[in-house]
């Protein structure tokens, strides 16, 4: 097992920029209306004449529209740069890739930190409750804007996978295939519990001020702790042991309760970094949307999928204890019972939930061949080496 080297020059989509799509009169599942709505998005590759090569990539809790390439004068490759580009799993020579920041987010799309047109101030907690279904409905508007009748595939890990399942249930006629990765039909009590601790950490921060912090200091300590908890759940016992061991930091001094161990320093660093790029209220809204999510909307998933003609590739990871493989198997079971054509692979990884960002070689193996099959519409490949 290895982490592929990230090479931002070779096989990269190059310099990219985030674009913005604005629409109005957006009805939320709660019945409330949100207007205007902005979706930040990026797109790579070229849409073909038939508009049949478009793939929608859906990001996880803390992700954004910047999935591949680099921004001008910056060095940060997109969050799935190892998978998107010429010759990669999502081959931009063949496919047109779209990734948008979710509704409720804080990286360019409308969310609690956006200006409320009624008050001229940030929404804060006046921002309406949004659901995974709302995120998907907003993405549908973006896809319509591109004039895309039917997506070749919708793909995502973790919360991105939830959006994939929501697309499947809401718009089965608008997609040819789905790739849900390390995800669940709905959150288990354990997953809700971790999210709740994160939310409580934010709300316990005196700087949170019931969400009205945009003119003062943000609740950095609370958000940082929420992120630290998150990172623990994204890794595995084995990956932590391998990465940190019980190694102490070089400059460890004997003050009480300083970050002596490498792992402590790592978590603090991750937490501190996160608060620079993420809005605490968005964290509250988005984690709540995940907890409330139920792909089948109360019914059993196989009932919701009766007659659906979509091909599926379901991927899980052995050491992922936040979204354990049994949750992916529940998705597969619903496909078996409803007759959805599917493939399932449980990749033997030690990276925990983070594996969906790291197991590039294995995912590429599965995804590139699966997409080819869907794109060229064949039952099996013509030839293979015997």
């Amino acid at each position: 097992m290895r982490v592929e080297k990230r090479d931002s020059h070779e096989n990269s989509v190059g310099v990219v920029r985030t674009r913005y799509f604005t629409f109005s009169g957006f009805k939320l599942e709660s019945g409330e209306e949100l207007s205007p709505v902005v979706l930040a998005y990026e797109a790579y590759g070229a849409l073909n004449e038939k508009r049949s090569n478009a793939i929608l990539i859906l990001h996880a809790l803390s992700g954004d529209a910047h999935a591949a390439g680099v921004h001008k004068r910056e060095n940060n490759p997109g969050w799935w740069d190892s998978m998107i580009g010429p010759g990669k799993a999502f081959d931009t020579n063949k496919y047109f890739i779209i990734c948008s920041n979710v509704l409720g987010g804080c990286k360019g799309s409308t969310g609690p930190s956006s200006l409320n047109p009624k008050t001229g101030k940030s929404y804060g907690l006046d921002f309406p409750v949004v659901s995974i279904g709302d995120m998907v409905n907003a993405q549908k508007r973006l896809i319509d804007h591109f004039g895309i009748e039917k997506l070749l595939s919708v793909v995502g890990g973790s919360m991105g996978g939830m959006q994939v399942l929501s697309w499947l249930v809401k718009y089965p006629d608008k997609i040819n295939s789905i790739i849900p990765i390390a995800t669940a039909i709905k959150h288990s009590p354990q997953q809700i519990a971790f999210d709740e601790v994160g939310r409580q950490a934010i709300m316990a921060d005196p700087d949170w001020k019931s969400g009205n912090y945009y003119e003062g200091l943000p609740p950095s300590r609370g958000l940082s702790i929420a992120r630290m908890i998150g990172h623990i759940t994204y890794m595995s016992d084995a990956s932590m042991a391998e990465k940190f061991g019980r190694q102490k930091k070089n400059n460890a001094q004997n003050y009480k309760f300083t970050a002596d161990f490498e792992v402590e320093g790592y978590l603090r660093y991750r937490g501190d970094n996160f608060v620079k790029r993420f809005d605490a209220n968005s964290y509250l809204y988005i984690t709540k949307a995940m907890d409330n999510f139920d792909a089948s909307e109360g019914k059993s998933l196989q009932e919701a999928l009766a007659g659906v003609k979509v091909k599926a590739l379901v991927i899980a990871f052995k050491s992922d204890w936040l979204y354990p493989a049994y949750q992916s198997k529940e998705i597969v079971k619903a496909f078996k019972l409803s007759g959805v054509e599917a493939t399932y692979c449980e990749i033997d990884s030690t990276y925990g939930h983070d594996a969906f960002l790291l197991e590039v070689k294995e995912e590429t193996n599965l995804i590139s061949h699966f997409l080819k099959k869907v794109f060229y519409k064949y039952e099996v490949t013509d030839n293979y080496e015997i």
Binding site: L313, T343, Y344, C345, E346, L366, H369, V380, T381
Partner: protein
């Protein structure tokens, strides 16, 4: 694919299935049989396989396959979900053979079972003259490394079907190169059975 290049047991199975039928291949390995069936008979195929590396090879061929063990992968299906459930060279490696066979008969309208014949004369000779567990073309593993959990003969399987009132619709016997009709329990290295409830 040139027909004569297809493995003999696969060729026999190919002739047992109707074109455009639906097939579940339990323990499909790298998917060669399933691939052949789809290519030659336009069947609709699904595989189940435990080995991760084999899954990658199946996906590369364009096959639909579920990563998992046969015992639990089968139970989730509704009755008569497939025209055929195939257990080729996997029966002897399943822990709960009886349970899986009953489930296969429930999930499939018909079941195709192929397995190595432990009572082939070469095995008998090795046991008799050397007093050792046989290692033959059809049973290539030493006792300490074999994935096989069960060792059965053609007669064993026929007796089993009779006792469980499983209907044997067709039975075919083969060695490496050709089919066998004379004294199969002695001269066949493998048997392929088409059975139903």
């Amino acid at each position: 694919m040139r027909y004569e290049y297809i493995r003999l047991d696969h060729r026999l199975i190919l002739e047992l299935v109707n074109p455009r039928s639906s097939i579940l291949d339990l323990g499909c390995g790298t998917g060669e049989l399933l691939y052949t069936l789809i290519k030659e008979k336009n069947v609709h195929g699904q595989g189940i396989e435990i080995d991760e590396q084999a899954i990658y090879k199946c996906v590369k061929k364009g096959l639909n396959v579920f990563h998992g063990d046969i015992d639990s992968g089968l139970a989730e299906y509704k009755d008569k979900s497939f025209d055929y459930v195939i257990l080729n060279q996997s029966l002897q490696q399943i822990r709960h053979v009886d349970k899986v066979l009953q489930d296969a008969l429930r999930v499939g309208k018909k079941v195709i079972v192929g397995f190595p014949n432990f009572a082939h004369y070469k095995s008998r000779l090795q046991i008799f003259f050397q007093g050792r567990t046989p290692v033959t073309g059809a049973l290539p593993y030493h006792w300490y490394e074999t994935p096989n959990l069960h060792f059965l003969s053609i007669s064993d399987f026929v007796t089993y079907c009779r006792s469980k009132k499983i209907n044997i619709e067709k039975s075919l016997y083969l060695n490496e190169k050709r089919t066998i009709t004379l004294l199969p329990n002695l001269f066949a290295q493998a048997g392929v059975f088409l059975v139903s409830e």
